[in-house]
């Protein structure tokens, strides 16, 4: 790049390191025949009834702007959904804003709330865009490292210990990407207490709320005293397999939402109407399909956990999202070395844990949003690579298919074949 041009770029942007995932993405793209567990999105395509509703809306000519806040009908449906699921009530006219995915919701919330030098507490490992968006908004990132021994759960005392006079925000993401950790109600209550005591505002990214496998997800805003100080971010990408539609929403106190709407109207105007129409259909008729997907993820979750334990990689049980975060230190490799070796030797892609912050070092993120066949094969290959590094398997694995082909037409599962 022309040096003089480069100098004219905003130093905040110029000095920002590119996403740690980017470099690895390029490596994977150059390798052929890769099974990827590095994908942060559902392997399901958006259910047909949702796609069909969107096509129908195009046929009917819904191609115009919507109000800045989004279609009122959609906001009403969101309010109804949150009230039914978590008992949190938002006024669809003043407390809900439809955004272009949670990504935009997060950016709006940070830009609306962060003043230069304000500190934002972020549990780590964390989603790759949190720290950069805070920096872009002029804030200062304060990481709260979490580890496997605590199940990657943030503790209230950690929050309390990190608070300074400049602390304004706590940014939570549970169920968590990349670890799959969830916070139980008790822990959330303790954190909420600290937030209230120190007058913190909490941005809660609950995009994986429906992908919770062990008990109900607790919505932060449903806790006493939290609704007014929480900006709740959610969307349709993960629950309804709608990543590419880019549609989400932010809920919160009317003053926060009004401020965010101001930025939104000048920078985005509105979320695309076709995506909003699809989101409406998802809320109206998508529950059964979503529950089917969740059941399927849960079965795969058990499968990969079992496989990691068999191959001798410690892995805490993720209770949400669709990621497992096994520890790979026993192989003697760093996260990046592990991911690169696995890619080169076995053509399986996982994401090195340090892409999600320093406390992710020693781990890799494996997404189980992949077909059963791919998962089984990827686990088999990973087990081979780990064994070559001298790690003793716990038992002879039973999770992957035995190699000898069964006799045609005869099922191992039973003897009823006629």
């Amino acid at each position: 790049m022309n040096r003089t041009w480069c100098e004219r770029i905003n130093p905040v942007v110029r000095d920002m390191p590119p996403s740690g995932i980017r470099r690895f993405f390029d490596m994977v793209a150059e390798t052929k025949g890769v099974i990827s567990l590095g994908v942060g999105e559902p392997d399901f395509v958006t259910p047909w009834h949702i796609r069909e509703a969107c096509i129908y809306s195009l046929e009917k000519g819904y191609t115009m702007y919507t109000s800045n806040s989004g279609l009122l009908e959609l906001r009403c449906a969101i309010a109804r959904d949150l009230a039914e699921t978590y008992g949190v009530t938002y006024d669809p006219r003043s407390e809900i804003l439809v955004t272009v995915g949670v990504s935009q919701g997060l950016d709006l919330a940070l830009r609306a709330l962060v003043c230069p030098g304000d500190e934002v507490l972020i549990p780590e490992p964390s989603y790759v865009s949190y720290a950069p968006t805070v920096t872009l908004a002029g804030g200062k990132v304060v990481s709260l490292p979490t580890g496997m021994e605590q199940g990657f759960c943030l503790r209230a005392h950690q929050v309390e210990a990190a608070i300074t006079p400049r602390t304004k925000l706590l940014l939570l993401c549970y169920p968590n990407n990349p670890t799959g950790a969830v916070l139980d109600r008790k822990t959330l209550l303790e954190i909420a207490e600290v937030a209230v005591a120190h007058d913190l505002i909490v941005i809660s990214d609950e995009i994986y709320d429906r992908l919770t496998y062990d008990g109900q997800h607790t919505c932060l805003a449903s806790l006493p005293g939290m609704k007014e100080r929480t900006v709740l971010l959610n969307g349709f990408s993960k629950s309804y397999a709608m990543t590419g539609w880019r549609v989400g929403y932010a809920c919160g106190h009317g003053d926060f939402i009004a401020a965010m709407t101001k930025i939104h109207q000048y920078t985005m105007l509105c979320a695309p109407i076709t995506a909003q129409m699809a989101a409406l259909e998802a809320l109206k008729n998508g529950r059964a399909g979503m529950e089917r997907m969740v059941r399927e993820y849960n079965r795969r979750r058990h499968l990969v956990l079992h496989a990691f334990r068999d191959m001798g990689l410690p892995c805490f049980e993720p209770k949400g999202a669709f990621y497992a975060f096994p520890e790979i230190r026993v192989t003697g490799l760093t996260s990046e070395e592990f991911a690169e070796t696995l890619l080169q030797e076995e053509k399986v892609a996982v994401v090195p844990g340090n892409a999600f912050g320093a406390s992710g070092e020693g781990f890799v993120r494996c997404s189980y949003a992949a077909s059963l066949e791919d998962l089984g094969e990827a686990m088999r290959r990973m087990a081979q690579m780990v064994r070559r590094r001298g790690v003793k398997p716990r038992v002879i694995s039973t999770t992957h298919r035995p190699i000898p082909a069964r006799e045609a037409g005869v099922s191992v599962a039973g003897s009823v074949c006629s």
Binding site: S19, V39, L303, L372, S411, V416
Partner: protein, 161 residues
């Protein structure tokens, strides 16, 4: 263990091993084996089959849907004739329908002549059958929940945050 979920898994893929099922449903392998055995014995699981694209295998098959109107019989209603039709190996499925006809019968044969011959000589002549209407299948797009020649593939980026 949830029996319905077990059946759902096997209906989708009968080649899953009891070990795999046990891990996925967080159940004991012995328990899974016993449950499957019991479902087989009480005929909840009728059979394990493979869905074959015969066209791809190079095998010509002709199938037809026959609408059959019948006279219900005293005491047995439609069941007597329906059960008789079921006996023929050419018949793939028999269903009692609401609407303009009574039985929807799916027939499979090697040639059109074979199928028509079967309808004319065997099916139509059964006592109680009033009439038959034969519709030959021209092309199958989706069968048992599976889209044949599905063009939907995994188009996701290989790595994403």
């Amino acid at each position: 263990m949830n029996t319905l979920e077990l059946l759902e898994l096997l209906e989708d893929n009968a080649r899953l091993t009891p070990e795999e099922i046990a891990v996925m449903l967080q159940a004991d392998v012995g328990e899974v084996r016993r449950a499957i055995k019991e479902l087989e014995q009480n005929k909840t699981i009728l059979k394990y089959m493979t869905l074959v694209n015969w066209e791809k295998a190079g095998e010509e098959k002709v199938s037809a849907l026959i609408e059959v109107r019948i006279t219900p019989q005293r005491d047995v209603g439609f069941d007597g004739v329906a059960r008789r039709i079921c006996r023929f190996p050419e018949v793939r499925s028999v269903r009692l329908m609401s609407g303009a006809y009574d039985l929807a019968v799916f027939i499979e044969g090697r040639t059109m002549r074979e199928v028509s011959h079967f309808v004319a000589t065997k099916l139509a002549t059964i006592e109680g059958v009033i009439s038959t209407t034969t519709h030959f299948v021209l092309k199958t797009y989706k069968q048992d929940g599976v889209i044949i020649e599905d063009t939907e593939e995994d188009r996701r980026l290989m790595v994403s945050p």
